[in-house]
Symmetry: none
Subunit: 204 residues, 4 copies
Amino acid sequence: MSPVPRRRKDARPAELLEAALEVFAEKGFAAARMEDIAARAGAAKGTIYLYFPSKEAVFEALVRSAIVPNLERAEALAAAHQGPVAPLLRELMGLLETMIRDSRLVVLPRLMIGELYKFPELARFYRATVIDRGLGLIAAMHRKGVEQGEFRPEDSDAVARLVIAPVLLMAIWRTVFAPYGDEPFDPAPVLRAHVEILLRGLAP
Amino acid sequence: MSPVPRRRKDARPAELLEAALEVFAEKGFAAARMEDIAARAGAAKGTIYLYFPSKEAVFEALVRSAIVPNLERAEALAAAHQGPVAPLLRELMGLLETMIRDSRLVVLPRLMIGELYKFPELARFYRATVIDRGLGLIAAMHRKGVEQGEFRPEDSDAVARLVIAPVLLMAIWRTVFAPYGDEPFDPAPVLRAHVEILLRGLAP
Amino acid sequence: MSPVPRRRKDARPAELLEAALEVFAEKGFAAARMEDIAARAGAAKGTIYLYFPSKEAVFEALVRSAIVPNLERAEALAAAHQGPVAPLLRELMGLLETMIRDSRLVVLPRLMIGELYKFPELARFYRATVIDRGLGLIAAMHRKGVEQGEFRPEDSDAVARLVIAPVLLMAIWRTVFAPYGDEPFDPAPVLRAHVEILLRGLAP
Amino acid sequence: MSPVPRRRKDARPAELLEAALEVFAEKGFAAARMEDIAARAGAAKGTIYLYFPSKEAVFEALVRSAIVPNLERAEALAAAHQGPVAPLLRELMGLLETMIRDSRLVVLPRLMIGELYKFPELARFYRATVIDRGLGLIAAMHRKGVEQGEFRPEDSDAVARLVIAPVLLMAIWRTVFAPYGDEPFDPAPVLRAHVEILLRGLAP
DNA sequence: TATGAATGAGAATTCATTCAT
DNA sequence: AATGAATGAATTCTCATTCAT
């Protein structure tokens, strides 16, 4: 019926979520119109509702789908790692730096900080699935470093948060101020100083 | 002009902004209803419009009014300081920790990260007036520490951001996850570890 | 108390009506704000309500006050007249032409055509006091002309309306299209042609 | 596109404009509520906005749609005419008289006199498309009459306005005073006297 | 008399969601 | 599965009117 047949039925939800990411990034959750999302995915307004029961559900699905895969990559990285922790930490920060610069997902921190508290269930899920797991991963790295005599003892949960904080700040910076910044802010020097200071600060 | 000043008149804007802070904190900017804000200030819907021309203007006024005074306190603190920088940094972090725990302004970081990009002018103002000034303050402290031989040389602008990042993260944490956290998260240990690691990491 | 004392208390209502005429002329009845009217009269919003109980009442008072005096001038003119009717008609048209060009009251026809039907009582008053009286005046002139053999017999009420119609159209034209007309429309030639054609058309 | 065309879709704008004409006629532009218009067209409030972006746009569409067709009828009439102009003028006046008595469009003159000056663009369009064309049509008739020796020379543009003025006045009369008139005013005698006087007045 | 802060009814407009096709 | 016309709840903002001073 349609002149341009859908490539695969299965792709629709993903297409819609991709469109949703873009529209949420531009307008924020509240101001994003379902019709905009649909249109950007090349679909009609009603079509979204075949896959997601509400706008909230789209947001939830977006958050769920966008983050877990990346987390799993990080976990795989850590699992495969042998030897001193510092290089692994550097590698991880490099990955995150790249994401901040290149991935469309940079907007997610801003989006989630702005909206997540309105989605209690999603917040719980996200905290358990992403944050606790992600922080746990880094805390484990720190603990391993302490065991290996690479780091002095310190509250590993706190350290995990401190490792992540500048990464988040850089992501936020890019999406909150980038549109108005005269020079596009470069997060790289900050993150490099971060690793330097952090590793010195954690050293015995 | 009138010999008996109308009691409310002068206080009204501040009352309204306080109410706005609360309502924005609870619902976010988009979901906050002007009527709610007015009601919480003990006023009628229309009254808000005597003082602010739009909801956006309320948000702007809130941001402008809430932050500059605090920044000035920090500047005064720094100006009055003599001797090594580390204690000043500790004192500053202590102040910020207190604010995160006790002040109703904790919600501002979340609110602003979520909304500021929709207010280009306010974003510019905020960046110039608060961020650049605030980061400048810290960068100056770092530079002074370097001059005094207290710190090793490092990109002071980057350091300033690294000093602030965990503070913001803690503020965000409290307002994004606090409502659902089983145990109310305590930012103190993180910020203490932060200062420890930071000072060690900055040391020559 | 007031540094600039009111010249005469009695002048206030008239000042307010004059201001109302201007504001109604610019914005129309519905879009005219009581505050604008007050401000233009150099008074505060509440002051209007000391003299007029409502916006409708202002409109009514304006209409009542603006027209009757002019009508009385016309009646006096007619009463004083002797001899053939044609010169009187020419004089009357000259007066009306002047009003259309110079008086701020030109806007009244437009205003009243647009609003009067919403003021049943005022409409009745206006019809009885102004229209019937004004048309009666002209009809009487026509009748006198017929009696004097100056005009052929014709329905005098109809003639009265025909005499007035182009005057109204010119007033309307100036206030509806004038703001957008490239050349400010000059009603004079039309009204002169009107008298010419009319007098020939009425001749025996 | 759909094989079974949605019954409403195509008809909706016309239905809405018809409803708008009625509601504007009853309440005037400012007091007409979009909901009333929608309801009278058997639609919900929101439906109007699928077809017209604003209340202003409804008014504009109404004016544009209502008048041009009638003007074209008049032009066709004139184009088809041969011989002396007077009978054509009588026929035209007869048509207008009928419209004033029977058509729901009688309210348009009142509506437009009352509102058009607030719609600069529409005013320009209307002046160019309807007035200049309509007056041009009549002026051309007059000019032809002069050429044919039927009329004495006279400013044809002025004549055109004089021809139309009583028609407008009658339309206005019916919609401004009709609701309160004891006897429903009959425009016929006035328009008949108008043609009589006019043709005599124009004769050589 | 005069003021202008306060009120709250009212209306335009938006948009998530539904559902007939 | 897909569409998009239709709905109507919800929200911002306006402004006539009131009334304490």
